[in-house]
Assembly symmetry: none
Amino acid sequence: MAHKVSKLFNETLNEMNISAKQKAVLQASLQLFSEKGFENTSTNEIASLANVAVGTVYQQFKSKDQLLQVVIESLIDEVIPKVANEFVAGVKVTQETEFGEFLQNIIQDRMQFAVDNLPQIRVLVRETMVNKKVQQQLQARIVKLPFDRLKDFFADYQQKGQIVEWDFMRIVRYIVGIVGSYIVPIIFSPGQHEADVGQMSHEATEVLIKELKP
Amino acid sequence: MAHKVSKLFNETLNEMNISAKQKAVLQASLQLFSEKGFENTSTNEIASLANVAVGTVYQQFKSKDQLLQVVIESLIDEVIPKVANEFVAGVKVTQETEFGEFLQNIIQDRMQFAVDNLPQIRVLVRETMVNKKVQQQLQARIVKLPFDRLKDFFADYQQKGQIVEWDFMRIVRYIVGIVGSYIVPIIFSPGQHEADVGQMSHEATEVLIKELKP
Amino acid sequence: MAHKVSKLFNETLNEMNISAKQKAVLQASLQLFSEKGFENTSTNEIASLANVAVGTVYQQFKSKDQLLQVVIESLIDEVIPKVANEFVAGVKVTQETEFGEFLQNIIQDRMQFAVDNLPQIRVLVRETMVNKKVQQQLQARIVKLPFDRLKDFFADYQQKGQIVEWDFMRIVRYIVGIVGSYIVPIIFSPGQHEADVGQMSHEATEVLIKELKP
Amino acid sequence: MAHKVSKLFNETLNEMNISAKQKAVLQASLQLFSEKGFENTSTNEIASLANVAVGTVYQQFKSKDQLLQVVIESLIDEVIPKVANEFVAGVKVTQETEFGEFLQNIIQDRMQFAVDNLPQIRVLVRETMVNKKVQQQLQARIVKLPFDRLKDFFADYQQKGQIVEWDFMRIVRYIVGIVGSYIVPIIFSPGQHEADVGQMSHEATEVLIKELKP
DNA sequence: GATGAATGAGAGTTCATTCAT
DNA sequence: AATGAATGAACTCTCATTCAT
């Protein structure tokens, strides 16, 4: 179930009807913005990583800011919904699935996803901190994500009396909080952790099951 | 128990044996780095906010990078330990204090602290994402923070059988995770939330008590 | 007698044996050079006003400079001689025509011509100021203009004792000077004057008759 | 009576309270704008002619456009009024002065002035053709020039019956027209004419006296 | 002939840093 | 110690020109 954002990003670029060079520009931008941050990346660097002349960058994109916008918007408006859809659709659950197993699956999957896509997550996090427009776009997108199927599962477990009768958003908040307590340190310290997703997801599931008991 | 980082930052500057002008420079730097980010702040802006000539900035500080270093180091090596000390020292607990009350106090206090010091937290978070040196410094400092007294309290509650026998770091991780699930959205969306610390800390305590039950 | 330069320019283009697209390029160039000046006009703008791809511009013309050359040369070497010929040929004069009537006709005609063709005159004036080659071309052309018929008329009036025995060029200089004193302000302030050609030519004729009396 | 605009321009710069380097920048700008036109002059060229670093140009002036503005405004709002004042004040005329002598003096003086200051006149002419703001500023300034003393002289000659009873502005128009018929060709062809101011002013005076007879 | 994406030299501009005062 | 004009490397961006399609 875990995806490579870079692959989905490339698919998005393919749908954008731009030339191979322009795609290379956007890929180089994503990579460099992720590695060094937007302000510390020069258009010259982007061009040379993309094997392209500086002017080519500006053929399609009006400014460096617009380049960021396009990269971020692709992530927010194209990649994130795809990721969310595939994630939600990929959740395997039957009438017999215990909540613990269900939760373990979700958590392991999302942790693996985070660990697999640290650079792209970092760009989004960083730009969200600096750029108001990005904040609003991301927020607007998150609100619209199709979590209905997931919501239904949780409602089912609530009806069966397996988990507490809290609001769906509150439950999500705590799952994200506990998962984040493992993932955020990794996001912030690149290359320092050997992330053991199995161990982390096991622990996180344990505590969350306890937390969400009726 | 909650503190104003800016006040502690000023105290730190007073101890640094620098002139009033240089203090103003550091204060202006912290403010502007927090508002616009390091890269988007020019030395001219810093100088003019500090009511000082550009040259004066370079009298004391070798470079703009050093200026950031000094600001960040002051926060990490002076302010954070003070904050931690005062926090830990300020925790009121007796033999009769129930764990719930103890936890509620801690959480409310730290949430209030976070809400009161958003700009400074933002600088640290942002620079930690871009700047490897800052990452290492912050990490090295956190490890050395004097949490022994706190640790003892938790050990006590564990001995009394009031909380689960998890590792202290694991317990802290979950507390930070749950508290973070309320605070992080506020850090990322400046000016959008009316933070109701009372309500938030109440909810967070409720879930954490459940989570930490034996 | 007054002509539209744009019409003559088009005729010139028709004689040039170039494609419709290339004609559109030259027309767009003339228009944009006149509106914004050569340096402030980009080849992209020319192409898009001409509804043509940039490459098409360079199919026919070696460089942007050559484009200017062609436009200017068409004006100087084709349009101006035509204008001059038609003007000179169109002067109606018989043995009975008084000098005043003759002069009034000439002046009114040329003033109307100037007012009708301000944009093209502006291009020529502007480029003449910046571009040495244009200066030389224009000068060389003016010297060769076929003013013989006009010269004869003036010689006739001189023989009849109706006008002063000045050199033809000196007479022309003063006519141009007086007419210019009305027209130049209009050239320099686009859109500010309601040019009353009747009134202006009347005044100019009055003073010139006086001036050219024997 | 004839002045060097460059000297008056320098005086204006001295009154502007700017450093020697900044003065050099403005002088270099005037020179280059005059020689090659604004668009064909690069900030690098200005800096190197002024013996200054590129950055220095931008220390005082926000943009290349502002540099032009400052140069033009100095000419229009400082130099031109000074020139006009000195010219009008310098006109020597007594009750005995014949109109012809009076006119000859004026014309020779202004022709000499024009010939002596061709570069600066060229900048103004050229920018007036391209730049609407300059047009308005120049026009607004010309209207306010203090020609009262001159007007009185002409009124005197009119009362004495020595010249025709035309409106002052109409008389000025024709003087400018005739003088212009000698000067404009020189403005437009730099370095081609050996301007014989004596001969030119003599001819111009001759025709103007005739023209302005009652 | 026509196209327009690609090119890269060079433009205007910024800004961390220096240094004479 | 403080000043701020001066510096120039490096940035973003433009645009005349080319060339594979």
